[in-house]
Amino acid sequence: MNTQHTGENVPTLVVELTNGQAVPQSRVPRLDIQQFQSVILDSVQSGSRVVALFGAPDRKERDSLRMYVLLADDRNGRLKLTSATVTADGFPSLTPRCPQVHLFEREIAEQFGIKPHGHPWLKPVRFHRSYRAGADAWDRQVDQDFRAGVMNFYQITGGQVHEVAVGPIHAGVIEPGHFRFQCDGEIILHLEISLGYQHRGVEKAMQGGPNKRTLHYAETLAGDTTIGHTSAYAYIVEALAGGAVTARAQAIRAIALELERLANHVGDLGALSNDIGYLPTASFCGRIRGDFLNLTAAICGNRFGRGLVRPGGSGFDIDASMVDDLLKRLDIAERESRSAINLLWDNSSVMARFEGIGSVDTQTAIELGMVGPAARACGVDIDARRDQPSGIYRFAHVPVSTWHGGDIFSRAYVRWLEIQHSIDFIREQLRALPGGETRGNLPQLQPDAIAVSLMEAWRGELCHVALTDSQRHFERYKVVDPSFHNWMGAAMAVRGKQISDFPLCNKSFSLSYCGHDL
């Protein structure tokens, strides 16, 4: 079947759009499930990625589900969107033929109580009741009690085999999640990660918005990615309203996004050093991370960037005197980061714990649909700032940093490369801040439209998709945090490795629990 949207006589299978664009819902093709899955398979086989696959209530058929897929053709900078109708009887799972969709199909099953038949790993994702009263993919009764983490874990039996259960509460100051290891002695045969403890019902609460809480949901979807998620949300609202944002506001948002990347990358390199007991870099980076957070606070008063990004622009301006102050402090933070982080690469006891441990090969990373520094460390050359740019990234480019090892060293080193590029980018932007206003009023949202927004946040690509109803409210709001793509990568990285390396492997991915659990 031809899936290209080219010839005039070929039936339209997808609607093409760019990042930050809204189209009327009527333009989204409605395929049958076979056609729909063929589009996904053919696209993925030709190098596209599944950015989001999700369900939404079907307006025509109350009992049915409308399933949407957003595919990214990174080489051509295009996004493709299409949909299918799925009845309450379920649909054939695509996961056996396309592993990228495994968690998306589980999510659809849990949210709407519709079964993907033949899914090889159909387990709850977040342990909540389905959105459709009475419908449950596991045939649980409405009054049946269930708890997060209580399910059938994959088990291996044998004389040497033992099971290790960790969490939900972990040893450090960290979000909750459950990890179940099947070990042969010290070697991990299999790790199953069961999350959902952080589920706060964000997607459901976004429906009916935007209202006065919506922005604050975006700010706290993953609190360490406030700028990333609020930027994605702002572009959604701006796309639906058809309002332009000034270049100045776009530049300020991008500066904030890169500051967020810097704080987290520097913090993660410090935390990796701490996990292997190399305290100099751990101590220095722990402090320097705060210096980057304080640069964000200088702009907006809050270390995590709360209040900085607003639909229609930026909540705060950067005035001339602040530019000088920020540049000066950035120089100091750069110098101190450089000396602290370069200690790592010259130290053989550090490198012995970084190199060759926690490896994910390129093929696995692609098959799982991994994103962000974790994917780039496997040699996967993707970065939404270059491939699907929005805002100021359409004009100011950040070099993409990749490495080839797929191990802990590669994930650390890609972060260090990104730190350097982000500092250069912020410096350039601060020195040439466009003039004009920082915030404008937006027109009303379009009714009956669908909008998409992708951001390359510090953990990787995050995606928001919104559908509006006839009253201009969100009918469905889908959030895909980069962690949703990458948690399985973390599980694969430890397979066949020593269990004592798990904390270090986990830290090298540094994934979000609440971003996954929503």
């Binding site: 909540h128 708890r147 997060a148 100051v173 706290t220 609190g223 991370r289 200088a298 702009i299 609440c514």
Partner: protein, 265 residues
Amino acid sequence: MIKSILTRIQQGHRTIAYPAGPAPALPGRFRGRPLFDTAKCPDGCQKCADACPTQAITIASGKIKLDLGRCLFCTDCADACPNGAVTYSRDYPLAVRQASDLIVDSDQELKLAAALDGKLRKLYGRSLQLRQVCAGGCNGCESDVNVLGTIGWDLSRFGISLVASPRHADGLLITGPVTQNMRQALRIAYDAVPDPKIVIAVGACALSGGPYINHAEVNNGAASVVPIDLFIPGCPPHPLTILDGLLRLLGNKNLISRKSLPPAR
């Protein structure tokens, strides 16, 4: 090795002098407690209360009441006010001992946290081991609790440390609105802490549910599961606010002379 030593010398000694010395400088745009100049409020105006995402503001007979437990310290009320009546205090101390002390009139001083008394002060005044439990927190509060352990803040110089097991702990430090899926784990952790124990709730979510107030998926904060001894407002609270709260609870002599703060502008 030489390079490590040289780097150590370059990086220098960076632990803050506070509380014996001055507190680190807060950002110029820091938002502490929202202050309302009611002299500027026209009769019947409700705009700040209407704009608040968490219903933290109530207006009755010309007085504005603010629930600091619900407050996200965002700019929505200030942005909505046509008369510039909303400003933000630059004072970082915000921690209180009673839930009722979180609700303050616009002209009322904040009743800052008193020290533990008697036996608890004797037990924990110079050594407090806390188990942190994140129960739906967004990693904002968690990050700025974590930062207290870095060399800049060096929490352990006050005898306070964050430990791996509730059985090694004197109390819990809770963040997040307490999701339904974490309710049981939080309760188990609390029960595992030996008596006498103390509980510290950090951030708007743990105090009230924060942006998630009244979601079916959450329990509107830690007080729904366990009794709370110290409430630290913020979204997230600045590390200085958290440290100030902890030191007040332990009766740090550099802080106890300042029992309350006037709503200064």
